[in-house]
Amino acid sequence: MSTPERVITYGEAVREAIAEEMRRDETVFFMGEDVAAAGGVFKVTVGLLDEFGDDRVRDTPISEAGIMGAGVGAALTGMRPIVEIMFGDFITIAMDQIVNQAAKMCYMTGGQASVPLTIRTTIGAGRSSAAQHSQSLQAWLSHIPGVKVAIPSTPADLKGLLKTAIRDDNPTVIYEDKMMYALKGPVPDDDDYTIPFGVADIKREGSDVSIVATSSMVHTALKAADMLEQEQISVEVVDPRTLSPLDMETIVRSVQKTSRAVVIDEAYQSYGVTGELASRISDEAFDYLDAPVKRLGAMDVPVPFSPGLEPETIPDEEKLVRTVQSLFHDVPV
């Protein structure tokens, strides 16, 4: 018997997850800049204020460090705050509270304290928001032990992972791609639907090459897979869904089957998620590889404003197709 499904958007998934968890647990509350009365700059939290009131759905001052700190303190003392950082770029201002405080409290106190804090923030270029509103900084917090990181690519994954994050006793971060809020997809119609962290999802099965893709790049990979199918290249698309913990088992199993791997993530390519994934695949699946692991990320330049320039910097399906082809025969990449 399968659960009935409904089609909702990625943005609606956010709202439903928060609302369901707030109904389920009165210690859950939500705060951020313009999230209550205005429903957020991306309008994904419209309606929460009406249902839950201004004690549990709070508009805050423009104080990323302050609200993150307040989130940490509330989480330490019996509440389950959800803090929204409007643009992932602004998380830099709250870094001390996440990296030095929240992430380390449990460890530093020898297990006395826990910080059940959920942080929601955005990533992704593509809307000419220029260099301070377009970055994909998911590698930064994935680097920090003590933080869990999810990077959902579909409404169902977003809803299931966000609900899990809210129930988790650790600091968790959900990176939402701001370009995907209108993306539609089926979601199980079940208030208790959750997805565990650390479980990757095969978004498309294939036999010749594994594309390990995150967030919006999952959709880029699926498009590339369609294009490559016409050349008789069968692509498997693996979505890790969470970067920390990372389900290497599923990724390695896929590469054992296909013997080739390409890794794609929208962040700057250097020192980031693609580097980590490629290195671990090379290490853990070396004996199965018929070609070096290739990776694709954003160009190592600040994201430019001009519509003439921005698309150049982001990986797309054409670049991905050429990269995959290069694993099979000589092509100009």
């Binding site: 302050g66 609200i67 303190g73 330490l76 003392t77």
Partner: protein, 339 residues
Amino acid sequence: MTESLEIITTSSDEGTLPLNESLSREIYEKMLTIRRFEEAVLEIYTQGLMRGLAHLYIGQEASAVGICSALNDDDYLTSTHRGHGHLIAKGGKVDRMMAEMMGKVDGYNRGKGGTMHIADMSLGILGANGIVGGGMGMATGAALSGKMRNSGQVAVCFFGDGAINQGAFLESANLASVWSLPVLFVCENNHYGEYTAASDVTAVREHVAERAAGFDMPAVVVDGNDAVAVHQTAMEMVKRARAGEGPCLIENKTYRYRGHHVGDGDPEKTYRTQEETDTWLARDPIPRFARRMMKAGMVDETELDTIDATITGLVEDAVEFAKESPYPVADEVTDHVYA
């Protein structure tokens, strides 16, 4: 300017002791415990039994004890790198603290935190902190949590004169004020941040407490070496906070008698004068309080000696306890990364 923005400067009349005997004894014993504990820390550090950094609280005892004696067990506190005094004042156990100093398994944090991170969640001690200003957001959040749960709890945020120049102060103070949160921001102005005089780097006319005006919260400047004045101020501000009237800024003017941390040289030869230190030594909070207790007929010299002997014994036991406790086993290194 409204009346609440006035800066009240307060100290108490040295000729009297307007506190009852049991409270007076508690305050005195806590202050002396901090003093003896810190002297023991200095000793174990010098003997090489403790590593890392030891920021001693010697000289500032009246600040921690005056404030914490106005709190309930379940009220919250965030502390600093100079945190031993705050912890003892809130009820922290000296043996488990001492074991943590040495990185032993019976320490509060199983040896994983050390001097700058001791916490006792059961006493609302949300942790000392290695980041200057690091506890300000947390205290604000704990107060928010108390308010949302209608628990009546208040949160005290201790920080130094250096920390008031962190952006976190502005963000937290504004948030606490606009949401009327029960937080006491307690600035322990010991006049130096490391080796720099606060007056050289802090844009205020006279008191750092002047900053409270920018957040529409009341400010009190207190003689921080006068446990009575600190206690009375804290009582009033805690009552106000519990009544839902919001946060305040208390500036306890005080002095650390030792260097910034153990082993960083002689302050009187570098960044401050012997004359200045002598002035503050003459206002040592512990003998000052003892004199008042004697004048009030609560204790005599002999009894003061007995109290000291008991406390010294307690601290010696704590050192023995810490020495005997083993280091955590290597397997524990991966425990508690996640809850």
